[in-house]
């Protein structure tokens, strides 16, 4: 289990690094990039954080990492969904702000708590864990400028806008999970414990 945990942690760091690098050095202006935006690269990095939580949990036999990883699965899904839907919405700037803030781990949104749980799990690993946490924090920092520029580009672009319920629900979910994470952590806890066992 410990070896699997260590392997998962290394794979997670590679995913986070790869996703963040792709976010930063995306070929801007290329047709494919314009069509899909930063979503694939961002999803890759977020999947890395989920795996990191699970890997750390298996490595140190502590369910906190798995809880953080599973919570991050929920918050990253909501954040990525919002990032995808927001540009066509009436309150696009607000939605994009919520999505970007949650994905990079800013409070008071859900991504802050899930990432913090993962960093807390890393601290169990002593100095090596501290290095893992610092790398993960550094990747979060590096992903802000490209996502932020996306926010500016999308909010500046013109076109017909609509008001739909789904993005509003996603934004409220992100805020609710940030203010009261027990909403999702309660049901996820048995699953995290089972995974660690």
């Amino acid at each position: 289990m410990a070896i699997l945990g260590a392997a998962l942690t290394v794979a997670a760091l590679l995913l986070i690094g790869g996703g963040t690098a792709r976010l930063i050095w995306a070929p801007r202006g290329a047709a494919a990039d314009r069509r899909v935006g930063p979503l694939p690269a961002c999803a890759l990095a977020q999947a890395g954080y989920v795996l990191l939580g699970l890997g750390l949990s298996l490595r140190f036999h502590d369910p906190i990492g798995a809880s953080g990883g599973l919570l991050h699965l929920v918050t990253a899904a909501a954040g990525l969904g919002l990032l995808h839907l927001a540009p066509r919405e009436r309150y696009s700037r607000l939605y994009l702000l919520a999505a970007v803030a949650s994905l990079v781990g800013l409070p008071p949104l859900g991504g802050f708590i899930s990432k913090l749980l993962i960093y807390r799990a890393a601290l169990a690993g002593g100095r090596l864990g501290l290095v893992v946490a610092a790398l993960a924090v550094g990747a979060s920092l590096a992903s802000l400028p490209p996502l932020w520029s996306r926010l500016d580009e999308e909010s500046a672009s013109e076109g017909s806008r609509r008001s739909s319920l789904l993005p509003a629900l996603l934004a409220v979910t992100l805020l609710a999970l940030g203010l009261w994470p027990e909403l999702a952590l309660g049901p996820l806890r048995p699953l995290a414990a089972a995974l660690t066992r």
Partner: protein, 499 residues
């Protein structure tokens, strides 16, 4: 835990957060009855903000009564069942923080109630965001756990960024990048403390941080860099200058609150939690950074002609004194340095707050930020002139004002640290502060009034800065309450004797 204390803590946190949507919606409702351009409708958001500020001052005084019986008050709420607790905590340092925020909030609210806005939407938007920012700031001050501190610290970034949007997308992006970078340093520092102590509960951190000196030292450096970046201190002041040069009105509350919050964070984490040996190791870098900040800020303010830039460099100058005080707290006898830092927490809001609110009031009414285009305004705005003189005298540490007490204590701390050259540089910086401040006052209020310059000032426009200036004067003349509070904080929070 005393029930009254818990109620006061929740009250302080909830008041600005509840008032924010009210400020946005209530005047819109009254605008339907009276019209969107009625003066009372336009001024309502400012008045509500001022009331919230006064409420925070009231809560701080109420906490004092409870702290007299029990030196630490706390409230613990379930956040995530076994991992994090939402811990709020109040001690005598919290009272200093709440008083500073409350006074700054009242001054800002009054200043905005008197601001010559012509319609409701901008004032309601700015005040609603300001109150969200104030709510996050109160959360930072009340945080009893490093995670709760980080939560509110980071949460302040979103309303601040929305306020910065008024200065243009470029400025807002630069601000967000600088503030977020600072937050990452802060996060790494807190994680380091957390790893060294094994817990994030602040009283536990203080007790457990002695063991791993290297990790704690590195974390303390990261924390200090993060806090100074958010405040816009030298040499991280680029974003502040950029933001102010384009639209000070929207960025003023950001700068005002960030300065107060960073000062609070520095005091809470550096002499408050870091072991004395580590603080002693950081003494010289902090003293040098402080002296450089005081001198650089004062020199640049002396050379500038633009009111926004003068206010920005005045902030850099004033934050330098705080760094000096924190550096002086690394001495063998650290009490004067810590007491100086505590007093400076109030001086920053009262001195610099009154100074920049006065400049903003003048710029908004004369529609110019060029110092050369101003003059002879004393007859038009005597109240504002008095406020600005009090602000300048507070900033330069003139006897009779609260700044004098702060500077006397921090220079005493510097002498205990055997840092004579730094003390001399600090005193020289105070002379330069007086020079740039009085130059601005003389240029604006005396001399010949340029042709065509006939602004209308009313008493409400001067009330905010005047209030801050008068409070500084009262506590400068009668400094016993501030010294008593500082002594109580030294004994109960920092484990020191005032002497």
């Amino acid at each position: 835990m005393e029930a009254r204390g818990t109620i006061l803590l929740i009250w302080a946190l909830a008041a600005p957060l509840v008032a924010s949507p009210l400020v946005y919606l209530l005047p819109r409702y009254t605008a339907r009855l009276r019209g969107p351009q009625a003066v009372e409708v336009i001024r309502a958001p400012g008045w509500i903000s001022a009331v919230v500020g006064l409420l925070l001052v009231g809560v701080a005084l109420g906490l004092l009564a409870s702290l007299h019986r029990q030196p630490v008050l706390g409230a613990d709420f379930l956040w995530t069942r076994e991992y994090f607790h939402f811990r709020l905590r109040a001690d005598f340092l919290t009272v200093f923080g709440l008083l500073a925020l409350g006074l700054v909030g009242t001054g800002w609210g009054l200043a905005m109630a008197g601001h010559p806005y012509r319609s409701l939407p901008p004032t309601a938007r700015v005040q609603a965001l300001w109150l969200l920012l104030l709510g996050a700031a109160v959360g930072v001050v009340l945080a009893g756990d490093a995670v709760v501190f980080l939560f509110f610290w980071g949460a302040a970034l979103l309303p601040a960024w929305l306020l910065q949007q008024g200065s243009g997308a470029d400025t807002a992006r630069r601000f967000a990048a600088a503030a977020y970078l600072g937050d990452v340093f802060l996060l790494l520092g807190v994680i380091g403390f957390w790893a060294a102590a094994g817990d994030s509960y602040l009283p536990y951190l203080r007790a457990a941080l002695g063991a791993q000196e290297k990790l704690v030292g590195l974390s303390a450096i990261l924390l200090i860099v993060g806090l100074l970046m958010r405040a816009g201190s030298f040499p991280f002041h680029g974003w502040l200058r950029g933001a102010w040069a384009k639209g000070p009105l929207e960025t003023l509350p950001v700068a005002l609150l960030f300065l107060t919050l960073s000062a609070y964070g520095l005091i809470r984490f550096v002499p408050g939690l870091t072991p004395p040996d580590v603080v002693a190791g950081l003494r010289w870098p902090l003293l040098l950074l402080g002296a450089a900040s005081v001198l650089y800020g004062a020199f640049r303010a002396l050379l500038e002609r633009d009111l926004s830039r003068i206010a920005t460099y005045a902030a850099v100058n004033q934050l330098g004194y705080l760094a000096l005080a924190i550096g002086a707290s690394g001495a063998v006898v650290a009490a004067p340095g810590v007491a100086g830092a505590l007093v400076y927490l109030l001086v920053l809001g009262l001195g610099w707050g009154a100074f920049c609110l006065s400049l903003e009031a003048i710029a908004a009414r004369t529609r110019t930020r060029d110092l050369d285009a101003l003059g002879g305004l004393f007859a038009h705005a005597p109240g504002l002139a008095v406020a600005m003189i009090l602000a300048v005298l507070t900033m330069c540490g003139c006897p009779g004002l609260l700044g004098f007490l702060g500077q006397r204590l921090l220079f005493a701390g510097g002498m205990w640290s055997r840092a004579w050259p730094i003390v001399v540089l600090g005193i020289f910086g105070s002379a330069l502060t007086a020079a740039y401040g009085l130059r601005v006052v003389a240029r604006i209020f005396w001399g010949e009034r340029p042709r065509g310059l006939a602004p209308h000032f009313d008493l409400t426009g001067s009330a905010g800065p005047l209030l801050l200036g008068v409070v500084s004067l009262v506590f400068g003349v009668w400094s016993y309450p501030v010294l008593w509070l500082a002594s109580a904080a030294l004994a109960t929070v920092f484990g020191m004797r005032a002497g």
